[in-house]
């Protein structure tokens, strides 16, 4: 295992096999791989994660969960639990139904009809659904008491396979919705009839399946919730990664204004989207903190996380038809998408439109029709997971490319290059009105192929065969669209009142010259404290160590807005856009102040060496410490009209318009980072066991503020994709029991599982963002696409599933032998 060769300005990985890209010489901190500033506390065991937060007299919460996939709740008796010494109290679904409103539903009808509460009310719909909450003096006692809660169920038949959910005799999860169909929409762009008439060939793909898994952050969900009875306000120490979303879900449900919900985070042990939808559990904590008049501590157990939190969207692509020319030119496709939301719509059906950010994938075809149908099943609720909804669609488009190449007997590299959107076409408007901001896909593919020494593949294939192994090469080319236009939610439900996006930063200069930055974001390892400081130091011309970025998020800082959080590949655009804006405001104020002090025009001033000076007279120098002291503590005699606070708040708002709802047309995301991966695998044909023997990942995400952090995101996304492709799956039996509820059965990759990795990067600055950056970090599932393609290449059999454990590969080989 070796990480070799980033083609980048920093050149920190020196084992590159490639000539460095020409990159403009960087001045200042931006573009440098500055070691992370958050590391010291984390390395010393001094981070503050949610389970580290303690309060006097706090009670430990444990959930009693459903053992059935589908059942009526006929009786709940908490009296024995409450009678146990050391138990502080309980909360039942009946109480929740009385104390709260159902959560707001994003969906239009019929999904809008769901009555979703923080605990199961009257019925359970998946194994592991929270039914009762018990609070006790210790963790152990809370679990003991949970055993004493008596719940009687009247079991019902379950529907586990989405393809069964719409059959007339299928069990219905939500009677109020009249069936299991939640949302359906027809997306059609271009002229499908003309495309299919022009086609030399129509490739038919009966069924493709993208499987269920998630990123399993190592820290599970949790909260420490305090209720301030006097002011009616909750303080929610948590690891929720999108407090803005949690707030708009929780406030109306709890019948309180958002001022009553204070969210606080510091260090978060991984998120990957999986920590967006913890609002039901947070509501339970809030209700119990008020009911029992004591702080409530909830730390989710690993098994509970696997049973109930944020599985990625399982998706079927059926009856796909692809219109192609004999030479491999792609004209268009139509498909029927069936998406499995699990039991509840917690963030869904947004997945029903989010995929459309990347409608054509990387390719130039203009005629596309997708009939999107989302259903509920008796499984854990689906919610965002790294690459949310786009990953599924991009896997589909990559599968289509390789299947087309297979059917036409063409080289997958050539089919890609023939159809990739070209660098000279950027910015490129897709058939549905999204604008790909920049990129050079063909160049990236060349780099990736070079990193695995593609020219030697025929020889290596022969060598492998001589050893009794089947060698295969696969490409995964994919997009990481970032900075959502929330107006796309209106394609799901025209009545919604969301659009655009925003993020907030404040930058202030304090009495002793401290430059203090607060963010609205909730980082989970992305290094915001470091990259924000790099941007600030460059604008203020000061040493990096003079910039202090507060760790985490706190609603009390007033440095957040409706979409604040860390999700959907956007910090480098929205977060740093806000940081840049606030810092530029501060720089302007510093000059305004100095102009008053020095009695000179502002234009005569410049920021340098941690202060402000007159350009032509460097001796006239006011250090930041003096600026901070004058305004904050020594301001007598300053001109009355001098409007300077040295405490600047900036809200970054991307330039978005509402999409056209009739045509389902408009720009849904601001930036499109790119990943092109190549996997080389070897299969043992006797067993189906396979290994990745070589791997390349090439990244493009516009201007890079900290290349090392970006490469770290590429590596992490790659590892997760490899895990998902080979080992990780949430599999259910026909009764709806999860077969992989812990790390014994759900194998995530460990150090020995990692293949040799080569990385490289190019920069195509985004023309649309304040710093030329693009949001990145999700990786678009490139590794899944690449491994599927490599398996197909090695076996000669079309791969139709995103998850390919060894036994499935063995079956593929048997199919190929027939």
């Amino acid at each position: 295992m070796r990480a070799a060769g980033a083609v980048d300005v920093a050149g920190h990985a020196s084992e590159t096999t490639l000539a460095p890209e020409k990159v403009e010489v960087q001045k200042g901190w931006g573009g440098q791989s500055v070691p992370r500033r958050e590391d010291k506390r984390l390395l010393r065991g001094e981070g503050v994660f949610v389970d580290d937060v303690k309060r006097h007299g706090m009670g430990y919460l444990h959930f009693v969960r459903s053992p059935y996939a589908h059942a009526h709740i006929t009786r709940v008796d908490v009296s024995a639990a409450e009678a146990l010494e050391g138990v502080y109290g309980t909360l039942t679904g009946e109480e929740v139904a009385a104390l709260t409103e159902p959560f707001f539903q994003i969906s239009s009808a019929p999904g809008s009809q769901l009555k979703d509460y923080a605990l199961a009310v009257g019925k359970v719909r998946y194994v592991g659904e929270p039914v009762v909450a018990v609070v006790a003096e210790t963790r152990e006692l809370a679990r003991d008491a949970s055993e004493l809660v008596e719940v009687e169920y009247d079991p019902l038949p379950a529907v586990v396979d989405a393809r069964r959910a719409l059959e007339p005799d299928a069990p219905v999860l939500h009677e109020e919705a009249g069936g299991n169909l939640m949302w359906q929409g027809l997306y059609s762009w271009g002229d499908l009839d003309a495309a299919f008439a022009e086609a030399d060939r129509v490739i038919e793909i009966p069924e493709l399946h993208f499987h269920r898994f998630n990123s399993t952050p190592l820290e599970c969900d949790g909260a420490l919730v305090e209720y301030n009875r006097g002011v009616g306000q909750w303080t929610i120490h948590c690891n929720n990664q999108f407090p803005g979303f949690a707030a708009i879900m929780m406030g109306p449900a709890m019948r309180v204004g958002l001022d009553k919900l204070r969210f606080v985070t510091q260090d978060i042990g991984g998120g990957f989207g999986n920590k967006i939808t913890s609002h039901p559990q947070l509501v339970v904590c809030c209700l119990l903190a008020r009911k029992l008049n004591r702080p409530i501590q909830w730390t989710e157990w690993r098994t509970d996380f696997h049973l109930s939190m944020s599985h990625c969207n399982e998706r079927w692509f059926r009856d796909t038809q692809v219109a192609v020319k004999e030479d491999g030119t792609l004209l268009g496709f139509r498909t029927k998408t069936l998406d499995d939301a699990g039991a509840w719509l917690r963030y869904e059906p947004l997945g029903g439109v989010i995929w459309a950010q990347v409608t054509p994938g990387m390719y130039r075809w203009r005629h596309i029709e997708v009939e999107f149908t989302q259903v509920v099943t008796n499984k854990a609720p689906a919610s965002p997971n790294r690459g949310y909804s786009r990953m599924q669609h991009l896997w589909f488009t990559e599968r289509v490319i390789d299947i087309v190449a297979h059917e036409l007997g063409l080289d997958p590299v050539e089919v890609r290059k023939r159809n990739y959107i070209r660098a000279d076409e950027m910015p490129y408007e897709t058939p549905n009105g999204c604008v790909y901001d920049s990129g050079d896909y063909a160049r990236m593919l060349d780099l990736a192929l070079e990193l695995v020494d593609y020219g030697s593949i025929p020889q290596r294939r022969a060598e492998a065969r001589a050893r009794g192994k089947l060698l295969g090469v696969g490409i995964g080319s994919t997009l990481d669209s970032g900075t959502n236009n929330f107006g796309q939610s209106r394609l799901i439900n025209p009545d919604l009142q969301f659009s655009g996006n925003n993020e907030v930063a404040t930058v202030k200069l304090d009495i002793f010259g401290e430059i203090v930055v607060t963010l609205g974001t909730t980082p989970q390892g992305q290094g915001h404290e470091t990259t924000a400081a790099q941007v600030v130091a460059d604008i203020l011309h000061c040493p990096l160590e003079d910039v202090h970025v507060r760790a985490g998020h706190d609603s009390y800082w007033n440095s957040h807005a409706g979409f604040s959080g860390t999700y959907a590949s956007q910090f480098a655009v929205t977060g740093l856009g806000a940081v840049k804006g606030a810092t530029e405001m501060l720089a302007a104020e510093i000059k305004k102040l100095a102009a008053a002090v020095f009695q000179c025009p502002e234009e005569a001033l410049e920021l340098a060496d941690g202060g402000v000076r007159i350009k032509d007279n460097p001796d006239a120098f006011l250090p930041f410490m003096a600026c901070g002291a004058i305004v904050n503590a020594n301001n007598a005699g300053l001109p009355e009209d001098l409007d300077v606070s040295l405490n600047c708040r900036y809200v970054y708002r991307p330039p978005f318009q509402l999409p056209d709802l009739e045509r389902k047309y408009g720009n849904l995301t601001l930036t499109y980072a790119v990943q092109i991966h190549v996997a080389v695998i070897e299969i043992d044909p006797d067993t189906g066991y396979y290994e990745i023997v070589d791997y390349a990942a090439v990244d493009e995400c516009g201007k890079r503020i900290n290349p090392q952090i970006i490469e770290g995101q590429v590596m992490g996304a790659t590892a997760q994709a490899i895990g998902a492709a080979m080992w990780e799956a949430y599999e259910y039996d026909e009764d709806g029991n999860l077969l992989t509820p812990n790390f014994y059965d759900y194998h995530v990759p460990h150090a020995l599982d990692m293949p040799p990795l080569h990385t490289a990067a190019i920069e195509c600055p985004s023309p649309f963002t304040p710093l030329g950056t693009k949001g990145m970090g999700e990786g678009g599932g490139a590794g899944i696409h690449a491994i599927c393609a490599a398996l197909q290449d090695a076996t000669g059999v079309v791969v139709t599933d995103s998850h390919n454990p060894y036994q499935r590969v063995w079956r593929l080989l048997q199919e190929g032998a027939r």
């Binding site: 990480a3 963790r139 991984g270």
Partner: protein
């Protein structure tokens, strides 16, 4: 039950429930929250500590089993300095992102390097096999450990 445990050089006497896990004893009773919990099954290694010189997962041991033992946790690594060479190497090689697995990784790597100051890459990977990281893909962690081998 009354137990007496030395952690990072400080001896603690506490009355604990016999069923309390060592990790909960460290985190809840001693407020040593550097060691973390990432699973219920002993797979993830976030709670790894060194007990009487042996690397152990502290969720797989009862607190009462540590009676009389000498326990080392992440908080004790850099007692006399800001960061140990291993910790510095993690920083330089970007071997951590969210940092949740990091204390366990450091303890596993520390135990390895005490036993074998010159491990091969394969030996490093094997030594870290019991520690799950979901952020980094391990490449930089292995590089960080490799950089402090002799």
């Amino acid at each position: 039950m009354q137990i007496r445990v030395t952690v990072n050089g400080t001896t603690y006497e506490r009355d604990v429930e016999p069923r309390k896990l060592l990790i909960h004893f460290l985190r809840d009773d001693l407020d040593l929250t550097g060691s973390h919990i990432g699973c219920d099954t002993g797979n993830c290694g976030a709670c790894s500590v060194i007990v009487d010189g042996v690397l152990l997962k502290s969720c797989m041991l009862l607190a009462v089993q540590a009676d009389g033992a000498n326990v080392e946790t992440v908080e004790g690594l850099a007692a006399d300095e800001e960061l140990t060479p291993l910790q510095r190497s993690f920083n330089e090689h970007h071997a951590l992102q969210c940092g949740y697995c990091t204390p366990g990784m450091l303890m596993s790597a520390t135990a390895l390097l005490r036993e074998n100051p010159s491990p091969s890459e394969a030996e490093i990977e094997k030594a870290l096999q019991g520690n799950i990281c979901r952020c980094t893909g391990y490449w930089n962690i292995v590089e960080a450990v490799k950089a402090v081998t002799r």
